[in-house]
């Protein structure tokens, strides 16, 4: 629905050389050929503008529908069903069809937000600052709460002071890294996700 900013002069010019009446005089039907406009002549689906088309899996439910993600200049322009998948064969449900809407959602965060203790507002912070701060806090809390052995002598090597929730919506590689770092590395036992929710 783009705004129309043509000057009056080229409006008249365009009107005249596309004028339907002469075409009608030459026998064109007013329902079809005589009425067809320049835009209709040159219309193409915008998928043809894509410079990168990849196969993705719908991020919503566990059915696992395959999707084709069309992108142009590094931005997703459309997502629709992948006809090659034996699961959805090109179809999608209302959520799957809204994947492009999710990727370009107006509420999408693009900056790290930080809320200082007792503060009443978010502040934008650089990503690296946040990563350093989180690493520091993680180490500090781990060191304060790490238990090597119970009073009875059994070795446990764990910390009850740190917890992680998530995620049934995450990739296998991500869940593997979370359990490996938080469990195998830091000794966290409070590691859970939506599987029980």
């Amino acid at each position: 629905m783009s705004r129309d900013r043509r000057t009056p002069f080229n409006r008249v010019g365009e009107f005249l050389n596309q004028w339907s009446v002469p075409r009608q005089m030459r026998g064109a039907d007013h329902r079809t050929d005589a009425a067809r406009s320049r835009m209709s002549e040159t219309l193409r689906p915008r998928l043809e503008d894509a410079d990168r088309v990849g196969t993705s899996i719908c991020p919503y439910c566990a059915v696992g529908c395959a999707q084709l993600v069309y992108a142009r200049d590094g931005r997703a322009i459309h997502v629709e069903g992948d006809p090659r998948s034996p699961i959805n064969e090109g179809t999608l449900c209302p959520k799957g069809s809204a994947t492009i809407g999710w990727m370009n959602a107006p509420d999408r965060l693009s900056k790290v937000l930080h809320r200082a203790p007792y503060s009443d507002r978010w502040e934008e912070k650089p990503l690296d600052w946040a990563m350093d701060r989180i690493a520091h806090l993680t180490r500090q809390t781990r060191d304060e709460t790490f238990v090597e052995a119970l009073p009875g002598g059994e070795t446990v090597n764990h910390t009850l002071g740190l917890a992680s929730l998530g995620g049934a919506t995450l990739d296998n590689e991500e869940n593997y890294a979370i359990k490996k770092l938080f469990g195998g590395g830091l000794g966290m036992v409070w590691i859970e996700n939506q599987a029980r929710v």
Partner: protein, 320 residues
């Protein structure tokens, strides 16, 4: 599926409609116009009728005719006036006004508005030419241009009624023919009344009043006809406001008829009486168009109206 009584459409038997609607959501959409289009229809009608009357007044005189009678000259002014006041109104009503010229992009015989656009163009051009010629003294050109203006004028006076009728708005679709007739008569009445206001004495003045009287009474008669057709299709429901407005319009029709008649019968017809009657006649014509617009939008919002109109013949659905 306990099949209630059924009705046949084409080769198919389907359950009869039992008055139910889909959560009262209207199945058709109301026409997106308001007083601006109604007023254009009125002005176009007056201008068009005036040109015709002006032509008739000038046409019967033996040639080489001297200067056209004042009524013809005023008619030509009225014609141009109708266009210059009316056209901006409908262009303003367009939701993308800057593309108004696309109205003349194509000739689409199935579209009331396409026919109307070309009529308006022709009427505007010919009326304009006639007036210009009149003002610049080219009497024969003026008279030559007046003929197409009058012909287009006849169109201007009636096409809008047909345009309304050729929609799916239940109230309009139910009585499309008579609606167009009413608009034609209403235009003639208003046109004659407008010209009569310009004539204070003389036979033309009386003739115009009589024409207005005839047109008004015929229009009033037809309004009852329209009402019956709508009742027959079951699309005559109306809210209180619409009923009162239609009553007012009827009063505005009958009153001038009585006044004209009284004036016509008396030996010394009084100009003031005629002025009052003519003004009322013009108001009646305008109010008829506004009421039709309001009534149509309201009827489109009543699902029952559309469903009744769209019942197959003989299924009894219409009469509910």
């Amino acid at each position: 599926m306990n099949w209630k009584r059924t009705r046949r459409i084409g080769k198919t038997e389907i359950p009869r409609w039992d008055g139910e609607t889909y959560y009262d959501v209207p199945p058709v959409k109301p026409v997106p116009w308001d007083w601006k289009v109604a007023t254009y229809v009125f002005l176009g009608g007056v201008g068009g009728a005036a040109q015709v009357l002006g032509l008739l007044a000038d046409w019967r005189r033996p040639s080489p005719r001297p200067a056209p009678p004042p009524v013809t000259r005023r008619a030509r002014w009225l014609g141009v006036g109708g266009v210059t006041l009316g056209a901006p109104l409908i262009i303003a009503d367009l939701k993308t006004p800057r593309r108004f010229y696309n109205m003349l992009r194509i000739i689409r015989p199935t579209s009331g508005m396409s026919i109307g656009s070309w009529l308006l163009a022709a009427f505007g051009a010919s009326s304009g030419l006639a007036l210009l010629a009149q003002l610049t003294g080219f009497r024969r050109t003026a008279r030559a241009a007046h003929l197409p203006a009058a012909l287009a004028g006849a169109g201007m006076a009636t096409y809008t009624g047909a345009l309304f009728g050729a929609t799916s708005t239940p109230r309009w679709a139910a009585a499309s023919n008579l609606l167009a007739a009413r608009f034609g008569l209403s235009s003639m009445a208003a046109g004659a009344a407008a010209l009569s206001l310009g004539e204070r004495h003389g036979p033309t003045w009386q003739a115009l009043d009589t024409v207005s009287l005839v047109a008004l009474s015929a229009d009033t008669a037809l309004s009852f006809g329209v009402q019956n057709e709508r009742r027959a299709e079951g699309t005559d429901a109306a809210d209180r406001f619409t009923r009162d407005a239609e009553l007012a319009a009827k009063v505005l029709h009958v009153l001038p008829v009585v006044l004209y008649a009284a004036n016509g019968l008396s030996r010394r017809p009084s100009p003031t009486l005629s002025t009052v009657a003519s003004t009322l006649a013009i108001a009646a014509s305008w109010l008829t168009r506004v009421n039709e617009m309001r009534g149509a939008r309201a009827s489109a919002r009543r699902p029952e109206d559309t469903f009744r109109l769209a019942q197959p013949p003989g299924s009894g659905g219409r009469r509910q």
